[in-house]
Each structure stands twice: as structure tokens, then as C-alpha cells.
């Protein structure tokens, strides 16, 4: 008998009901307890952290709970979240990319340069953005190739990239200081606001996506574990998502600067679209599966016939591309590229976002959504402390402690997971 026969028989009555956790609330508690015991915390700690942060600032800072500050928060966090998405994939491999901060700068520089009014090469902002993202992806690909084929540690390669791209930006801007971006398409990426009605439609679409995806799984994967969702968890998630989506739009629609009415920022929508696309890439494609496999056990992946160097190069390309997109959003925030780019601690904030979001530095564990949650938490923290007029020194220190706490939690989670295996 060959294994084809093995595979063929017994189809249909696959799922053994005894294997399943009980349904309803009982199942919910059983699952929560199992997850806690095995160190599978998911996004729970960060959502709790975010809620606590928001509550603290809500009581202490006078300007924090305003609609305008809320819209600001979205546009401020968007760029960091984009970079953090790329960091997730790099960390999943167990690698690191230190060049993304200045790669974002390169992306911003390219769009600024390509749309320079009066220059012979001035082009439409959309083309400029596409070119910038492709160039950043190629740069990432070159760095990734050195990691994958030559075997230089990614820390060193991307540290070199950090210096090189910083140097390029310095050279380019030393004399000119600042390049103003006048192209409206580029500036839209951070400062376009949807009309109130469009905002509601977008909230409705995003709210509907989750139940639709669950329904799709139920139909296409009937009788398997992946199709099963605890109805209580499903309800909580669906309602929670609806509250978040409509809440964001509702608050944004009240935002205004002096008399100009704002609305849902395009930057927020870009971040959510990338979240959906990259989550799909990570969970539902062979590429994503191979990324997790290489991060979990590179030798096993190699023996299983996975082209490990190819995966590494592609991930660094992806990291470059998301850095480019993030850089464009940051440039659009101030309508220019200046010597001070990247703003603040962009690189470290992006890596911290992913790590706080539960992505393991040891590879193989983490979700794309963690990057967004982490970026929102860091953004909220820094925004809130700013509105409290706390000094930058304290902001760095507090961000540092949050990062330390998150990584400590992750280390405990790994230890719990290893222990539950014995």
C-alpha cells in the first residue's frame, strides 16, 4: 500500500468531536486558560496596555481626548506602522534590518526629487511613489542578498546600510537643507481626509471583512479546525472591530483644524489596507508559511526543499518596500524632506512597535497586526506625553521601559511554551 491510499481513505469523518474544546463560554474560558498556560498570549497584553495608556492620558492630559489630536495620532503613527510591518517579516526570520530608517529617507528623497517643480524630470507623484518604493525594495534586496548568499550577519549588513543611506541623504541635502514637496498625490498620503460619508462607508467595509472571512472559511474548509470559531469569541471580535472602526471614523469626523473640517485620514486607510494584504501574505500564502518555517527552524526548512536564501532576499525586499512607503508618508506629513529625516527615533520606534506587538526577536513567532498595535501604543504614549508637556528625555525613558516590559513578557511566553511541550 502506498501513502496515496493512506491519504485517500477515511475522508469525511475527520474531526473527532472529543478533540474539540467545549463551545460557548465554557470553551472560551478553557481556551483562555490553555493559552495563558502555554504562553500563547496573542495581542491581549498590548490591548490591555493600550487601554490603560488611553485611560491615564484621558484623565491627566487636557488636549489628549480631542478629535483633532486623535486624527493627529493616526497620521503620526501611520509611518511608524508601515516600517514596523516590514520589521515583522524580518524578525520572523530571526534577522534584523537597521537600515529601514534611512531607507525611508531614501524613499522620501526620491519622491521629492522626482516631483521637483521646474526640473526636467518632474513627473506625476504616483509614478514617483512607485519608483521610490521599487528602488527601496531593490536596495533591501541587495542587502538581503549579502545576508543570504554571502552569509554576512544581517545586523552588520544593515548597519552598513544605515550608515551608507544616511550618508547619501546628508550628501544630497547638505547644501539644499530642505526639499519642499508640492505634488498633491504625495502630500495626500498623510494629509488627505475622507468626507464624513466616505469615512462611514470605509468603516462599514472593514467591519464586514471579518465576518465575511469567517464565513468563507466555514464554507471552503468545512469540517476542519481552521473553520471552527467559538461563537462567543467571534461575537466579541466582530463587535469589537465594529466599535473600533466606527469609533475611529466617528471621532475623526469631529476633528478640525481652526475651521477646516477634517475626517478619516487616508494614512490610516493605507495602514489598514497594508495590514490586510500583509496578514494575508503571512498566513495564507506559501511564501508566508516559508517565512515562518525558516524563522522556526532554518535547517528543517532547507531539508524540506524550501529555498531559504530566496525567502531571505524577498523578506528584505519587502522590508525595504514598506520602509519606502513609510518614508513617503512621513515626508508628506511635513510636505518636505529635510536633513532631520527620519523624524525622531524612527528606526527604533519601528522595531520596538513590532516587538511590543508580540513579534519574537528569536524568529518564527508573531503576527503582522502586532506591528500596528505596537505602533499605535508607542504613538499614543508619545503623543499623550507630548500633550502633557513631558520632556523628550522622559518620553524616551518611558518608551524604553514599555519595550523592556514587552520583551520580558515575550521571553516568559517562550519559556512557558517550551515547558508545556514536555
Amino acid at each position: 500500500m502506498t501513502s496515496a491510499d493512506v491519504v485517500g481513505q477515511d475522508r469525511g469523518k475527520i474531526v473527532d468531536p472529543e478533540d474539540e474544546l467545549p463551545g460557548g463560554f465554557a470553551g472560551l474560558w478553557a481556551r483562555a486558560w490553555l493559552n495563558l498556560r502555554t504562553g500563547n498570549l496573542g495581542p491581549a497584553p498590548i490591548i490591555v496596555g493600550l487601554a490603560v495608556t488611553v485611560a491615564i492620558f484621558g484623565f491627566t492630559a487636557t488636549n489628549f481626548f480631542t478629535a483633532t489630536n486623535f486624527a493627529n495620532l493616526i497620521t503620526e503613527s501611520a509611518g511608524t506602522a508601515m516600517l514596523a510591518y516590514g520589521v515583522v517579516f524580518v524578525l520572523l526570520l530571526g534577522e534584523i534590518d537597521l537600515s529601514i530608517g534611512y531607507l525611508a529617507g531614501i524613499g522620501a528623497l526620491i519622491v521629492a526629487e522626482l516631483t521637483l517643480p521646474g526640473s526636467s524630470w518632474q513627473m506625476n507623484g504616483i509614478f514617483a511613489m512607485i519608483i521610490a518604493v521599487i528602488v527601496c525594495a531593490l536596495i533591501g534586496g541587495v542587502q538581503g542578498s549579502i545576508v543570504a548568499f554571502v552569509g554576512v550577519p544581517s545586523f552588520v549588513v544593515t548597519l552598513a546600510g544605515f550608515l551608507i543611506w544616511q550618508g547619501v541623504i546628508l550628501n544630497k541635502l547638505e547644501q539644499r537643507g530642505t526639499i519642499i514637496i508640492q505634488d498633491r498625490w504625495i502630500n495626500y498620503t498623510d494629509s488627505y481626509f475622507f468626507s464624513h460619508f466616505a469615512g462611514w462607508v470605509i468603516a462599514a467595509i472593514i467591519t464586514a471583512l471579518y465576518p465575511l472571512s469567517v464565513l468563507y472559511k466555514r464554507i471552503t474548509a468545512r469540517g476542519t479546525h481552521i473553520a471552527q470559531v467559538n461563537p462567543v469569541i467571534f461575537g466579541i471580535r466582530a463587535v469589537g472591530l465594529a466599535i473600533v472602526a466606527f469609533g475611529i471614523v466617528g471621532i475623526s469626523n469631529h476633528a478640525q483644524v481652526i475651521t477646516t473640517k477634517l475626517g478619516l485620514p487616508l494614512a490610516g486607510v493605507i495602514v489598514v489596507v497594508f495590514l490586510i494584504l500583509l496578514t494575508f501574505l503571512a498566513r495564507w500564502t506559501t511564501f508566508g508559511r516559508h517565512v515562518y518555517a525558516v524563522g522556526g527552524n532554518a535547517e528543517a526548512a532547507r531539508r524540506a526543499g524550501i529555498n531559504v536564501p530566496r525567502i531571505r532576499v524577498l523578506v528584505f525586499m519587502l522590508s525595504g518596500a514598506t520602509a519606502g512607503v513609510g518614508g513617503i508618508i512621513f515626508a508628506s506629513q511635513v510636505n518636505s524632506v529635510a536633513l532631520t529625516f527620519p523624524p525622531g527615533n524612527l528606526l527604533l520606534n519601528a522595531i520596538a512597535s513590532a516587538v511590543i506587538g508580540g513579534v519574537s526577536l528569536f524568529g518564527g513567532r508573531g503576527e503582522v497586526r502586532g506591528a500596528l498595535l505596537g505602533a499605535v501604543l508607542i504613538g499614543t504614549l508619545q503623543n499623550g506625553l507630548n500633550t502633557l508637556n513631558v520632556s523628550n528625555g522622559w518620553i524616551y525613558m518611558i518608551t524604553g521601559f514599555v519595550l523592556l516590559g514587552a520583551v520580558t513578557l515575550d521571553t516568559f511566553a517562550v519559556r512557558l511554551q517550551a515547558r508545556s511541550g514536555r
Binding site: S3, V6, A293, G296, A301, A304, Q417, G421
Partner: protein, 258 residues
Amino acid sequence: MTDTPLLELRNITKSFGSVQALDGVDFEVRRGEVMALVGDNGAGKSTLIKCVAGTHAADSGQIFFEGQEVHIHGPKDAGKLGIEVVYQDLALADNLDVVQNMYLGRELNRFQILNEAAMEQNTTATLKSLAVTTIKSVRQPVATLSGGQRQSVAVAKAVQWNSNLVILDEPTAALGVAQTEQVLALVRRLGEQGLAVVLISHNLHDVFETADRITVLRLGRSIGVFERSQTTQQQVVEAITAGMPTKVAGIPPTAVEE
């Protein structure tokens, strides 16, 4: 029952520099039997297996598969013949679940989009057919499995791919008593399902519990082939420690073809 062995090696030699790891080894395994490969450390067991798996190329000698001479130049060639090796360190990714590990590198997909439902159903069916019942959910990460369960997953993974020959390298080395029994039962079932199984082990107790025949290697030479039912552990131990590459009592005539 065919008389042609599924895999037959004749006069295989392999040296690493001045070290003669294999010095004219003969070996065979038939469909539906568990052939144990035993020998002391450095006897050449692993080297021999790596020559079959395509990790090493033999310096000289012939490999016959179903009576046809074949040349195995790499793991891909071995895979095409349906030869799967379950290595000691298992080659499972701890962070992935059972289904994901079973299909690692060979995921069912359509336009690169994974077909999770089919992979899960096939995995459940494969585990069921091998009577691996201790794994509660095929969606739990391999990190949460016990050593025996991991070994079962590794074996099931090897069997899933229309394999003809499964080579197990020390499958029970790191396991407790109960888990060892579990894995040995699985090994026997592989043979009963018509696969050719090669079991490499240091543990003669395990070998005598599962194997149909036993090939003894010593210092890179095949000492002899024993029928399990017609030999004792004592004889095998003697062959392992002091055996000479000549006829040893208990060798069935079919196995000795110099």
C-alpha cells in the same frame, strides 16, 4: 512477496580523506520488512544512509532500486525514488503546527494561496491510518508535543509522500519507555503497510522488538544479515563487537551474495 529487494547496495565504498568509512558494504531491504541496521559507533551506519539519501555520493559500488541500477546524486534523486529519511534531530519547525510541518516545503496551494482545508484533512487521515492517536489536535504547535509525538509526526511526514522506503535514524534515542513503545509500534505498522523500513538503532532491545532482519556493520564492512527469529541478542552483540566479514551462523543463504 517478491524476491527482488526494493533497495540493494553492492560493494559500496566511501572514504573521507584517509578514513575508510565504508569498505565494500552490501545491504538490502525488501518491501514490507523492517530491516535493522546496527553497529558500534563509527561502524558506518550514518555514512551508508547518507549515500542512500543522496547527502553523500559513494566512491564506488552499485545501488539497485527494484532491480534497476540507479544513481543517487542528491536528496532530490532519493526523493524521486520514494526514499525518505527521518533524521535524529527530526527536522520539524517547533513554531508551526502539525499540519504545517507535515506539508513543509510541499504545501498544497493554488496560485501560491494555501489550501489549508485539504492539508488538514489529509494530515488527519494519515495520522489515523498510522494509528497515531495521542496527538490531540493537528493544529497545535509542534513545540507543545512530547518527544514521542514529535517522532510520530516526523515519521508520518516521511510516509505521506508516496514513499517506498523510510529510513529511521535512531528514532527512539531520546524517548522514555512508553513513548519508545509507541514509536516502535508505529515502525512495525509501516512495515505491515507494505513499506520497506530501515531502522538504525543502538538499542538491541528495540531492534529485536521490531525488525524482521538485522544487518550488522563493523568498521565499514557488512558482517552479516541475521533473521530476527533465528538469532539471539548474544549473537548480534558478538557480531557488532568482534564480527569478521565472513559467514556467521544464522545468515540466511539469500543474504550473502559476495
